[in-house]
């Protein structure tokens, strides 16, 4: 099964530094990933099913498989973010301003 760049980088463990680049690629990955061992096709579930229901009409079957991988990646990314614990009072950088150092 062809893999998306997102899935390949996930497999290579390179996402922590490079997610901004390949995931919504402003640039290509500076360090190409190893070619992963092809994984057996997985039945879409969870978010992938919702995505197929909403957007499948715009996609070919091959593209839907790639979208499934993207949705699986969202789950993985959520898990990685959840693992980075924050205190209740830690607020987001919503009103983003840069202060001179």
């Amino acid at each position: 099964m062809a893999k998306t760049r997102r899935a390949i980088l996930k497999a290579a463990g390179a996402l922590s530094a490079l997610a901004a680049l390949p995931v919504r690629a402003q640039t290509p990955s500076p360090v190409p990933a190893a070619t992963p061992t092809p994984a057996p096709a997985k039945k879409p579930d969870g978010l992938a099913l919702v995505a197929r229901d909403r957007y499948g009409k715009f996609l070919t079957e091959d593209e839907m498989v790639k979208m499934d991988e993207d949705m699986a990646f969202l789950d993985t990314r959520s898990a990685r973010l959840r693992a980075l614990r924050l205190e209740n009072g830690e607020e987001p950088a919503l009103d983003f301003r840069v202060n001179r150092t």
Binding site: L21, V31, A93
Partner: protein, 475 residues
């Protein structure tokens, strides 16, 4: 004019002096730029729209003003190109994407207006990766104008997402160009094309009239031949703008202090990079050490920069392009992966976005502290030279992955990600050549609003090297 004496390989200050002294005519410069853009720029897929008669009219006005003694400054009468995500009322603004190829704005972006006020002459809207890469492209053919070709070797990409600005400056089609960066889009094409690019601090340059991909990450900056040129162009672009509430007045005291700069080299900066990239980086450090204190093995705070940047780009980009994505018109995009890549953006959980933004906040204090100790953090600009046009990005240079640990975090990607997340300026400088005759670069990250310090380091480096003066064959 022959290829060898094109004006656009001349440092801006020298060119400006000739214009001011009326040894060079702004009209002749505009004509030369338009001719070179047509002849070379089209072949490089670097041009979207030529300004044509409007450029010549602006050049005639500049020439008449200079003749009357009304000299506006060093950009007066100088031709430039703008990435085609900046709104212009006289030309379409396509965002590099087929669904927007006829988009017309009724106003000029603030940057376009400021450069016009400085007397600069816009000769072309330059190509870019569609939607600045917001849909997750994985190959060079990611623009309705075709893949951006690298003037140093046209079998390779000019980089993204500011593809046209990189190629047009490298090939001497304009005197300078304006690019944009969310996460790497000035640094990458600058490095791949062997030009100098400056990503300013967030808030230094108005984004009004620029396509939004990520409101909290997008920045506009100059791409030029040398660091001095970047500083010159930035001074005309910067400043508070009521139309962009995130802009700030340029803080005082941002000039270099006069002491030896302190440069921190990231730990592992040359791990898993091409050999020529490593060698050229080491050579740059040797030159830097002649006028700066260079410290090795500097570590960034241990936070997931890429994870956060990716989540933020997904969420903000998904919101910015929600209507397009939900319309099904992603099918019109050029890159294969862009045709489905936007759907996961729409499914990014709000809590993940906020989690990333909370982690982003935690990066600010340690990065500010680190950049109190150093005037710049250094790493190669990219791990490789440019990527081949004919190969998907994830299949290029597979040899670099051999032996690399699974949990490897690239300091190069980390520096680009964290620099953008905290909104600090960065400079990419050409520092040699590598595989396939392609350029390599070094990136320097500075503290907030310390562009002048970065440009100073760049100037000193470029006084001692000549990579920024090299030109590709045939241009």
């Amino acid at each position: 004019m022959s290829e060898s004496d094109s004006f656009f390989f001349t440092p801006l200050r020298e060119l400006a002096a000739k214009v001011r002294a009326r040894k060079v005519s702004p009209v002749a410069l505009a004509e030369e730029s338009l001719e070179r853009l047509e002849r070379h720029g089209r072949k490089l897929n670097a041009v979207v729209t030529l300004a044509g008669d409007d450029a010549l009219a602006a050049a005639r006005t500049a020439e008449a003003e200079i003749k009357r003694g009304r000299y506006r400054g060093p950009l007066h009468g100088i031709p430039y190109g703008a990435k085609d995500l900046l709104a212009t009322k006289k030309m379409p603004t396509t965002w590099g994407a087929a669904p927007y190829r006829n988009q017309q704005f009724s106003y000029d972006a603030t940057v376009i207006r400021k450069l016009a006020d400085a007397g600069a002459v816009l000769t072309a809207k330059l190509s870019m990766v569609e939607l600045a890469g917001g849909m997750g492209y994985n190959d060079a053919n990611a623009s309705f104008t075709g893949p951006g070709l690298n003037p140093w070797n046209t079998a390779f990409w000019s980089g993204g997402s500011s593809s046209g600005p990189g190629a047009a400056v490298a090939a001497g089609l304009v005197a300078f160009a304006i690019g944009s960066e969310t996460v790497g889009s000035i640094i990458t094409p600058s490095a791949f094309c062997g030009v100098t690019g400056l990503r300013p601090s967030y808030g230094r340059v108005s984004r009004h009239g620029a396509m939004a991909l990520c409101w909290t990450l997008d920045k506009l900056g100059p791409m030029t031949r040398g660091a001095d040129d970047c500083a010159l162009v930035l001074s005309a672009m910067e400043g508070k703008d009521p139309a962009d509430p995130t802009t700030v007045a340029v803080p005082a005291g941002s000039a270099p202090s006069g002491r030896r700069p302190r440069i921190g080299v990231l730990h592992g900066a040359t791990d898993f990079v091409q050999p020529e990239v490593a060698k050229n980086f080491e050579d740059s450090l040797t030159v830097l050490a002649r006028f700066a204190d260079v410290s090795r093995d500097v570590a960034l705070v241990d936070l997931p920069f890429g994870l956060c940047a990716g989540t933020i780009v997904d969420a903000e980009g998904g919101s910015a392009f929600r209507e397009l994505i939900e319309s099904g018109r992603l099918r019109e995009l050029a890159a294969k992966s862009d045709r489905y890549g936007g759907y996961s953006s729409l499914m990014t959980p709000a809590v993940d976005y906020l989690h990333a933004m909370r982690l982003r906040e935690k990066m600010r204090a340690p990065m500010a502290a680190l950049l109190e100790r150093y005037d710049a953090l250094a790493a190669p600009a990219r791990a490789t030279v440019s990527l081949p046009i004919a190969v998907d990005f994830d299949k290029a240079y597979p040899e670099l992955a051999k032996g690399r640990p699974e949990n490897f975090v690239s300091p190069i990607g980390a520096l680009i990600s964290v620099g953008n997340l905290v909104g600090y300026p960065a400079l990419s400088l050409p520092n040699g050549f590598g595989a396939s005759g392609l350029p390599t670069g070094i990136q320097l990250l500075g503290g907030a609003f310390r562009e002048a310090g970065l440009a100073g380091i760049g100037r000193e480096l470029q006084k001692r090297t000549d990579f920024h003066l090299r030109r590709p064959d045939g241009y």
